[in-house]
């Protein structure tokens, strides 16, 4: 008897979480699927999917993936050495806090700050003037878009890599060197493979959100970069074509799920 009551109470505790998942995760996904089968007049149709497979949207998809890839790659290139240095510093927790701190500031505020910094009369151009390069168009370029995105996402890349490096047993590094490995070989054959899970987690945390970026594309890239995220926003808010917006969202969800599966942590047969 008591066993079954215990089981019941266990289910009771799951109610808040389960209802949250149902209301805010599962229901919206079902709704998105549902809307994707209606055109702008409310007729049931598959036209949205046909439209998605036209060059306009395919180009948008490729561009989304390309920019998400660039953002992830640059974040990783900066974050890994940073995380590595971080594990070697004396005041780890302080440095870590300084890296996390910007994530507490609202995304929009940070983006607006960059408008000021990169603007024609901004800090960077003022500096260019004084060293004689002259004012450059920085805003509304691919460069500024990727730069700001990398800046925003970098803490999410550093954290998992830092954690993975911290967990790494230092005697494994000693062992590799003891067996004749140079610093580079030690990194390539021991440190990197053993922190790969952290790298994967970081890449997920950066790649997936950057696929559907829309705020930064508008403000920093001036809609010169049109990603799937921008398209979803435009369809829902401007053209009011919810069906098409939902269809793009369906593709985004599928793409994200695929990425999760491919980069997921497959701990083959680890029993401990």
């Amino acid at each position: 008897m008591s066993g079954t009551t215990k089981n019941y109470s266990r289910y009771l505790y799951a109610i808040p979480y389960a209802s949250w998942m149902l209301l805010f995760v599962i229901a919206p996904i079902i709704l998105i699927f549902y809307y994707s089968f209606f055109d702008i007049e409310g007729h049931l149709t598959l036209d949205n999917y046909k439209r998605f497979l036209t060059p306009v949207y395919l180009r948008m998809t490729i561009s989304s993936f390309w920019y998400a890839f660039l953002i992830t790659a640059f974040s990783l290139l900066i974050a890994y050495p940073t995380a590595y240095l971080l594990t070697k510093t004396k005041h780890k927790q302080l440095w870590l806090l300084l890296i996390i701190l910007p994530t507490w500031v609202n995304l929009l505020l940070k983006v607006y700050a960059f408008l000021g910094i990169f603007g024609t009369y901004g800090l960077v151009n003022a500096f260019f003037e004084t060293i004689g390069i002259g004012t450059k168009q920085l805003l509304f370029t691919d460069f500024s878009f990727v730069f700001v995105s990398v800046y925003i996402f970098i803490p999410f890349m550093i954290l998992p890599i830092f954690n993975a490096l911290e967990k790494l047993n230092p005697s494994l590094v000693d062992a590799a060197q003891d067996l004749g490995a140079s610093s580079w070989t030690t990194f390539r054959r021991v440190i990197f493979p053993l922190t790969l899970d952290g790298v994967k987690a970081g890449c997920q945390a950066v790649f997936i959100p950057s696929l559907s970026l829309f705020m930064i594309t508008r403000l920093i890239a001036g809609n010169r970069v049109i990603t799937l995220g921008t398209a979803v926003e435009q369809h829902f808010l401007v053209t009011q074509d919810w069906g098409m917006g939902a269809t793009i969202a369906v593709f985004l969800i599928i793409a994200m799920a695929l990425i999760m599966i491919v980069t997921g942590n497959r701990k083959w047969g680890v029993k401990q």
Binding site: S171, A175, A176, D178, L179, K271
Partner: protein, 358 residues
């Protein structure tokens, strides 16, 4: 210089910041093909010596020579030594074969040579057929063997072992002691074994270095160290012993516990204050009349192989006796011992007595 010498430490000091030195002006030589043990309590500097030889750390002062060549500044990956780590430090993302092959792959040996050498190394440690196992599928004792195979496959001239048996249970530990000793004989290379376990050190070594507070207290064969400890610290650390203050009256004559005894030690100043060591197993229980010392049994403990008796003499000195004979608590007994059982040690110079007695 003796060409049998493989490792030489010359006034080596290792100090971190302003802390007291971990290793304090240590000099010694080690010969090739011998089994050395660095023995001491934690923090005595034994692991520091190992890490200095391996090249993970550099000495603050002094020189380290390997085969007569100065090793200062030579990184770990360029040294002809390999280490078996305390936690084995096996690579969890590689299987047994790849762990053992790690060092060979770095040397860019061809596939066939690697295959042959790895199999040979695994056969050496009785792990044939385990090549494709993952590390987490191996037991503690097996991991230990993989770690040894991974080190010896590189054919080092010196194998460093950092408390490799401490994680194993008692039975396995005893087995591995035999195996390690046997392995060293078969390979014929120098083993430097670090431990805080004196029984392990006595069982395995050709020579033991007893360390304390960054200094070598005594070096010698296990028998030397056990029978003739140089001071109170060594006597206390190597096995249980009775350490009693005494006075050297003349050569071959010593006074302790209020009596005069014949002994085999000589070369002390007349009336020099000394410490006397008598091992518990060298004391024999007899009648009060036949004993050289008269004591009262205070407590008795059955230890399996023998009884451990705790006795007090009339002067209040405690005597630990290991005997297969049983006595009753409160019983007055005699203790008999040969003159050879008495080990006389010079008093250790400590901060407290320095200058006071002179």
């Amino acid at each position: 210089m003796n060409d049998r010498v493989i490792i030489r430490f010359e006034h080596v000091t290792k100090q971190y910041d302003d802390d007291p030195p971990v290793l304090d002006d240590v000099s010694f030589e080690m010969e090739r093909g011998k089994f050395y043990t660095l023995l001491g309590p934690s923090g005595c500097g034994k692991t520091t010596i190992l890490r200095l030889i391996a090249g993970f750390i550099e000495p603050t002062k002094g020189n380290i020579y390997f085969n007569g060549k100065l090793m200062n500044g030579v990184p770990a990956n360029k040294r002809q030594v390999n280490t078996v780590f305390q936690d084995y430090a096996l690579f969890p993302h590689l299987n047994v074969f790849e762990n053992v092959a790690f060092g060979l792959r770095i040397k860019n040996l061809d596939k066939k040579t690697i295959e042959t050498k790895v199999r040979e190394a695994l056969r050496f440690v009785n792990l044939e057929g385990y090549e494709n196992r993952e590390i987490h599928e191996m037991s503690g004792g097996q991991r230990q063997r993989v770690a040894i195979a991974r080190a010896i496959v590189n054919e080092p001239e010196v194998l460093l072992l950092d408390e490799p048996l401490s994680a194993l249970d008692l039975k396995l530990r005893t087995e591995m002691q035999y195996e390690l000793r046997e392995l060293q004989r078969r390979l014929g290379i120098t083993f430097i074994f670090v431990t805080h376990d004196q029984e392990e050190a006595l069982a395995m070594s050709d020579e033991i270095f007893v360390l304390n507070k960054g200094k070598i207290e005594q070096r010698g064969t296990p028998k030397d160290i056990y029978d003739e400890p140089i001071n109170r610290f060594v006597a206390d650390f190597i096995g249980e012993s009775n350490i009693i203050p005494g006075k050297m009256l003349a050569d071959f004559s010593v006074e302790f516990a209020g009596k005069q005894f014949e002994c085999v030690d000589h070369g002390f100043e007349p009336n020099e204050p000394v410490d006397i060591v008598i091992r518990p197993e060298d004391l024999e229980i007899t009648t009060r009349e036949q004993g050289k010392l008269q004591v009262r049994v205070d407590s008795i403990l059955f230890r399996g192989v023998h009884y451990e008796l705790c006795c007090y003499d009339d002067n209040g000195n405690e005597w630990l006796v290991h005997s297969t004979k049983k006595a009753e608590v409160g019983e007055e007994i005699g203790l008999y011992f040969e003159p050879e059982a008495i080990h006389v040690m010079r008093r250790v110079e400590t901060k407290e007595n320095r200058g006071g007695e002179r």
